[in-house]
């Protein structure tokens, strides 16, 4: 019988005031961990960008630029993936109402803004929202160590060999 490892191999946490000047620190924090666990520069930059977009949305929309509110960023490293969870306690939104823009249409209309969520979905392997307006909103983004076009390791029996990163 195979037992699944439930707990994250490693977990890092950062709490920052909701200010755009902190985006650079947030990117460094996430990018540093991503590179340390083996992502190359291109992939690490994608993770930094996705987190930047998530936090920019929190600062602008959830907290409406109230700099006293906190943004929590948690990075979890599992045997097969890196997960970033961005949490705020501000205004939520209905994830179902977010339409992914058709980029051709989008560019034709020359719209400003709204690119962030499209980018997050493009840059990461998985993006999921858990919205409880005024209580707690979370966006969870996942990047697997093995690229999407390469075969994934099978779930069972792999976790003991690889601890926390692509070798």
């Amino acid at each position: 019988m195979v037992t699944t490892v439930q707990s994250a191999v490693k977990r890092y946490r950062l709490r920052m005031p909701s200010q755009t000047e902190n985006l650079e620190i947030i990117r460094s924090f996430v990018g540093h961990i991503a590179r340390r666990v083996g992502f190359d520069d291109e992939e690490a930059t994608k993770i930094e960008m996705a987190v930047d977009e998530a936090c920019s949305n929190v600062i602008k929309h959830a907290y409406e630029r109230d700099a006293r509110k906190p943004i929590d960023i948690v990075v979890k490293i599992d045997y097969d993936k890196l997960t970033v969870i961005v949490t705020d306690h501000g205004k939520g939104f209905d994830p179902a109402s977010i339409k992914m823009p058709d980029m051709k249409e989008y560019l034709a209309e020359l719209r400003v803004g709204g690119l962030g969520i499209y980018l997050m979905r493009t840059l990461m392997d998985e993006v999921a929202y858990d919205i409880k307006p005024g209580v707690r909103n979370q966006v969870k983004m996942v990047k697997y160590f093995v690229k999407r076009d390469a075969p994934r390791p099978r779930k069972a029996g792999v976790q003991k060999k690889v601890k926390g990163g692509r070798q």
């Binding site: 930059t45 930047d52 560019l107 400003v112 803004g113």
Partner: protein, 117 residues
């Protein structure tokens, strides 16, 4: 440490903005100001040189989206040059190369402007 800088150089009717550092939601208003200043002075032939730009997020991309239509309405353009592969990939991901003239270096953008009446 300065996170982002915009320098400007005027050459005849053409103005070039040199971007340096990190262009994100915090620094994008500085680029907006620089473009607004050009527009206020009636200078619509604009080159943006990305050679020293290390990072761009959607907030930075949005600045170009906000100005391009109006600048083209005045027979001008924003031409983008000297992007690193890293910066180009972001533009490419969003299909921006179909909307903007992107050149390897500044002289090509100058030539393109000179060909126009």
């Amino acid at each position: 440490m300065e996170g982002f800088q915009v320098r400007r150089k005027d050459d005849g009717a053409i103005s070039t903005l040199y971007l340096q550092g990190y262009l994100d939601a915090h620094t994008a208003p500085r680029l907006e100001d620089a473009l607004q200043e050009l527009v206020d002075q009636g200078r619509y032939k604009i080159i943006v040189n990305f050679s020293d730009l290390a990072y761009i997020s959607s907030a930075g991309l949005g600045v170009f989206m906000g100005f391009i239509e109006m600048i083209r309405a005045h027979q001008g353009d924003i031409k983008l040059t000297n992007m690193s592969d890293k910066i180009f990939r972001v533009f490419d991901l969003l299909g921006f190369p179909t909307l903007y003239d992107i050149f390897k270096d500044e002289s090509e953008a100058h030539r393109k402007f000179s060909e126009q009446p």
